[in-house]
Symmetry: C2
Subunit: 271 residues, 2 copies
Amino acid sequence: MMLIDGRPATTVPASDRGLNYGDGLFETVRVHAGELPLFERHLARLRDGCRRLGLPHPGDDAIRADARALLADGALEGVLRIVLTHGDGGRGYAPPVDTPGRRIVSLHTLPAGLEGGMTAGVCETRLGDSPALGGLKHLGRLEQVLAARETAVAGWDEGLMLDASGWVVEGTRHNLFYWRNGHLYTPPLRSTGVAGVMRALVLESLPRAGVPGGEARLRYDDLHAIEGLLLCNAVAGLRVVERLEGRALGEGGDMRELKRELRAAGVAWLG
Amino acid sequence: MMLIDGRPATTVPASDRGLNYGDGLFETVRVHAGELPLFERHLARLRDGCRRLGLPHPGDDAIRADARALLADGALEGVLRIVLTHGDGGRGYAPPVDTPGRRIVSLHTLPAGLEGGMTAGVCETRLGDSPALGGLKHLGRLEQVLAARETAVAGWDEGLMLDASGWVVEGTRHNLFYWRNGHLYTPPLRSTGVAGVMRALVLESLPRAGVPGGEARLRYDDLHAIEGLLLCNAVAGLRVVERLEGRALGEGGDMRELKRELRAAGVAWLG
């Protein structure tokens, strides 16, 4: 089911700037028990992203109305995808002034395999560095596409991506946290990667859960020294990696308080 | 006028992977005197790009047939745009295996202002570095979009872009060549920028034209020391910058032999 600018539709003009230039943003929102527990966080990130890119924003109410309409059929579990593009433009990179954007909101079934421990490996495809786009969930995701294909060929559940200098950044579709010396860290994302909604929520929850940690860089060469690896995104929540490139990993640290905090914050589907 | 997979159409499914993930490539081809003088170079670049990205290629003959059909109405001057996307896919970065791609070929009028000297300035928006995507004309062009808006606001004809370390890379829609110590150089494009068809042709033509030069890096701090600046792309050809951030620039060097070589190679519209 899909709404384009609020109306049922399945196609967009081939002149859409999202298609031609990646001029747009998207969000992937978890539907749980017929609700969107983290919706306000996704809406806030979209507003911030539109501000950073000068992208027209349709207003939160329009997106909320789309979501209500799509959930009216009673879906309990699923994924709501929101795409905002810069709308239609002529040929040429400069966006037309005062053009209305386009919003594409669609409801999807929950992907399989969201439960249990995961396997992971490290992809050959490196993540680039972009001072202008770092952290944004913009429409240009070709590096993730290449790495996701590697991941599928290797048979891992997820592939980790390094930057060009060999720093660990994130997975193809998850942010990551790692246990080291009893602390739970996630790589900083200054000019690369996607600053995920679940990553932010985990970071906020650490102090309340009494788990020491925060942002800290990790070299590929130091992956052997970590005590545990977690992957997170807004659809799955937080998951444990059981095997990294064939090496067995334990839980790494006590997750009970952290999971309690996350459930209290809305991640009620967390096992 | 537009053909999608060979048939007249103006819309694509909103599930297109070019729209959702930037999973595709494009070419901007000059129409001159009803012909496509550099078409084979563009087709070769598309084949190479598809190989690098694992993108399905429709075959040169299909693209040639689209071009013939669009030019059958007798257009003499214009721009042919070719977009190849990874076609339709479900939600998720990994491309479906054996999916047919989608090709969108469209004919546009020639943009205004292709003649005469240009003004240029340096954009705040920096170009990122991507080992996986450097040089490719892929669909994720958000940095160029941001820089093109800066360029329009500043009132320049073109904006130059630096990488994060302050090296000059290219313009928002042109590659660049600069004169220094009597040599004509262009910045190398290892992991950033778009390796343009006209840039390659100029590089190839330098020895035949007896112009010393080639690839050499240029820092922003050294822009004041250049003797001349040229911008090139497949639509405009090769153009001289007359003012760079307000400073008057001369031609920088003798262009007559180089222009003769370029005209002989197909750039017959060069003034």
